[in-house]
Amino acid sequence: MYSEKVMDHFSNPRNVGEIENADGVGTVGNPACGDIMKLSIKVEGDVITDVKFKTFGCGAAIATSSMVTELVKGKPLDEAEKISNATVAEALDGLPPVKMHCSNLAADALHAAIEDYKKKKQGG
């Protein structure tokens, strides 16, 4: 039911963990749906230099989290902001239809982390 790429990212997830003193943190999801993602980013001069995730969720949730970290590492913020949940699903060679909505939150977590970074920057 899952593509090979999904199973690869599920079995060997990239960039798992939490960044200490992260510049931005985004947490999205809902335990009722069974998916919670927490993404932290390090930003240097408008470029995402490091990114890590922690996810409670199904195979799709973990694979999308892992994939989004690969997609944004080293990318400028404005490019990262353009990444959508659909982009992530596509990069994984698609997801089963039922997972497209409920477990495909990784880009939302990324956007939340970027927003958090911007807020902190404005505030500081």
Binding site: Y2, M7, F10, S11, P13, V16, T27, V28, G29, N30, P31, A32, C33, G34, D35, I36, M37, K38, K54, T55, F56, G57, C58, G59, A60, A61, I62, V98, K99, H101, C102, S103, L105, D108, A112
Partner: protein, 403 residues
């Protein structure tokens, strides 16, 4: 993947070799229609008659009280709709529970749309219903009580004989879905005080596509499949002769082997449960510890999600199932576990191991050895888990609705 371990017998079972052998002639030489009067029909007719006797023997009823169907779901549909519609002039109230199989729950929901009133009894943290609540729910309009014998997810066994007694006191027809109980605990329709009882072939080592419904003499069911005179005008359709023969053989074997089988399953199940709970912290058993069928263990692994555990197990060749939404094809976690008061996280983190006749101690030990590192790895990735303190953390998050 060399190793293949099957711990999902509540989903389906492999066909027993003796069952397969008994069925073969009805795919080959005895292919006739049991309704035909000529030579081709006589063999199949005899086979169906004998099968009906065997199933009746298994259930302790008369052969004319057995209706062959295509599945446990059809048996449930025929029982519930059949009684509801035949009794409609007397009343329109049905009592069931919140933890029934979808074949019962969705049939009741359909009847609600058709103008029936349905009371869904809740369960406590152990998954048990309250018989006083059942008594209080009965009204002069109640025509049917339908309560499962054993729960497919947790294995919890309801006090069906007592429920049947209450139903009789109030002159209410009583149906029990015994699909998961069959072959695991004795089924005697007289001892159980039931008027209707459903079983399914593929849960007891017979093939898919065959089931049976016991209907006590004197209880009228309106057919849901109209057709010829088959099954005494209660279920149209040429008999699935091979399937029926297989079901009967499976019943015969279940009765023959039950005592030994039950002891074997209970020993393995307890070993599995104790082994995992001892080696993995923060594991919760779902369902009453003692009032359970002997083969089922339903465990919640806190702070991790069930489907991701199943995928990891599957990579090792171990088959199990989960109450997680992700494995149900819906977006909601198990209605059974939620009814028992489990938080959504615990429901999502549930895994059901259901054992069967071919499982061995060595297979159970393999699981007990392989499972702890899987849970540990998934927890290390979970934002709900604190690695340092080895416990859960409170996480505030932005909510996003499921639907």
């Amino acid at each position: 993947m060399d190793r293949k371990i099957y711990f999902d017998h509540n989903a389906t079972t492999p066909i027993h070799e003796e069952v397969f052998d008994a069925m073969v002639p009805y795919f080959k030489d005895e292919w006739g229609n049991p309704s035909s009067i000529h030579w081709a029909g006589r063999g199949p007719k005899k086979a169906v008659d004998e099968a009906r006797e065997k199933v009746a023997g298994f259930l302790n009823c008369s052969p004319i009280e057995v209706i062959f169907t295509s599945s446990g779901s059809e048996s449930d549909n025929l029982a519930i709709k059949g009684v509801a519609f035949s009794m409609r002039s007397k009343g329109n109230h049905i009592i069931t529970t919140k933890v029934e199989h979808p074949a019962v729950l969705n049939t009741c929901k359909y009847l609600e749309r058709e103008g029936f009133d349905v009371t869904y009894l809740g369960v406590d943290a152990d998954g048990m219903i309250d018989l006083d609540e059942l008594r209080d729910s009965i009204t002069p309009k109640t025509t049917l009580i339908t309560v499962m014998y054993a729960n497919n997810e947790t294995g919890v066994v309801f006090p069906v004989a007592e429920i049947g007694e209450i139903a009789r006191e109030h002159r209410v027809t009583f149906h029990t879905d015994a699909v998961q109980a069959a072959g695991k605990i004795p089924l005697d329709v007289k001892a159980l005080n039931c008027d209707l009882l459903s079983i399914s072939g593929h849960k007891i080592y017979a093939p898919k596509g065959v089931g049976a419904l016991y209907v006590r003499r004197g209880v009228r069911v309106v057919p849901i499949i109209h057709g010829g005179h088959h099954e005494r005008n209660r279920r149209g359709g040429t008999e699935n002769v091979a399937g029926i023969v297989g079901l009967a053989k499976a019943c015969e074997i279940a009765a023959r082997d039950m005592e030994e089988e039950t002891a074997h399953l209970r020993r393995l199940r307890d070993r599995l449960e104790e082994g995992l709970m001892k080696r993995i912290p923060h594991v919760k058993r779902n369902g009453h510890k003692d009032k359970r069928i002997p083969n089922t263990a339903n465990l919640s692994f806190e702070f991790v999600e069930g489907e991701s555990l199943l995928l990891n197990l599957d990579m090792l060749g171990i088959a199990a199932s989960s109450g997680s939404a992700c494995t149900s094809g819906s977006l909601e976690p198990s209605h059974v576990l939620v009814s028992m008061g489990l938080t959504p996280e615990l429901s999502h983190g549930s895994v059901r191991f259901s054992l069967g006749r071919s499982n061995t101690e060595e297979e159970v030990d393999y699981l007990i050895e392989k499972m702890p590192p899987i849970v540990e790895r998934m927890r290390s990735m979970s934002p709900l888990w604190c690695e340092v303190e080895k416990k859960g953390v409170d996480l505030s998050f932005e909510e996003k609705t499921c639907s």
